[in-house]
Amino acid sequence: MKKVVMYTLSTCPWCMRAKKFFREHDIPFEYIDYDKADRETQQAIREDCLSHGEQMSFPFVKIGDDVVVGYNLNKYAQLLGL
Amino acid sequence: MSSWFYAIGENELIDGGKMPLSLEGNKILLIRQEGVFYAISNKCPHMGCPLSRGILDGHVIKCPCHDWQFDIRDGEFLSAREIKIPVFGTKVSDGRVFVKIYGAVQ
């Protein structure tokens, strides 16, 4: 199973829906709420987003080596082989 | 229907200066730049902040609240030309500055 890691915001409904999708499909995932993180973590997240050619638009979902920015169930499912 | 209303004396505003005024119920910002008087609405179309507290740089005024920038000559919002602040005509006569207000009868 590919590892799923997400950067999210506590205020973002699409982040909540993305989390719900993974829970409903019994996909374990880790997440960090950018707005609740400490400064150091925030800086690391920002650099990670920029290194992928993205602004900090959430949810930022890493599935294995792939990155999906935004709430896109088809892409999540495709990358996880669901 | 529009009419000219007396605003201020020409010497009351230095070049590069701005002055908020209320004319016929309109909140107006009078600006003097490169010798020319400009009159625009003093309310930012975004959230209504007073542009009189903003920063004037050449012919561009920056709203103090969220940095939206407008051209004082035509009122255009620099980031989206479809959004404009109302602009009023001005004239100087015998050292007196007048502003043209639409919908007002003198």
């Binding site: 409904p13 707005d35 900090m56 638009s57 920015v69 | 179309p45 975004h46 989206a80 479809e82």
Partner: protein, 131 residues
């Protein structure tokens, strides 16, 4: 920065502020060709978040994009942020958080969030396809 949250010396309740923001936003997005999403539930949720953000941070920021604390960056994320992300949002026919959609959109669930990188790639592809 002066706070517009305080009105007549009294703190406005969240519901009233949501209504106020709605009126102000409508005036801004209409000339840009956008309207509030027909999904009233998501509109209400997002406005609620914005009011909370305004209470906490002084401005109703986009609830779906990250702030850095740098004024130049963050001011471009005060709602409605459409003017500063026009090409991106026009391509999606919605803003990033989905509070606003193009006027032609009836079903917001037909729309997808497109990442900035994907947008750039599709633009480059189109350029290459042109003779």
């Amino acid at each position: 920065m002066r706070s517009y949250w305080v009105c007549d010396g009294e703190k406005m309740d969240t519901g009233k502020r949501k209504e106020q923001l709605k009126v102000m936003y409508q005036r801004v997005v209409d000339p840009l060709g956008y309207k509030f999403s027909p999904d009233e539930e998501i509109v209400d949720f997002l406005l609620e978040q914005e009011v909370q953000l305004e209470k906490e941070k002084g401005n109703p920021f986009c609830p779906c994009q990250g702030l850095t604390g740098e004024r130049d960056h963050d001011m471009k994320l005060v709602c409605p942020c459409i003017p500063f992300h026009r090409e991106h949002y026009d391509a999606m026919k919605r803003c990033w958080c989905g509070l606003f959609v193009h006027k032609s959109v009836d079903d917001p669930y037909e729309l997808q969030q497109i990442s900035l990188k994907d947008l750039e790639e599709s633009k480059n592809k189109k350029k290459k396809e042109r003779p």
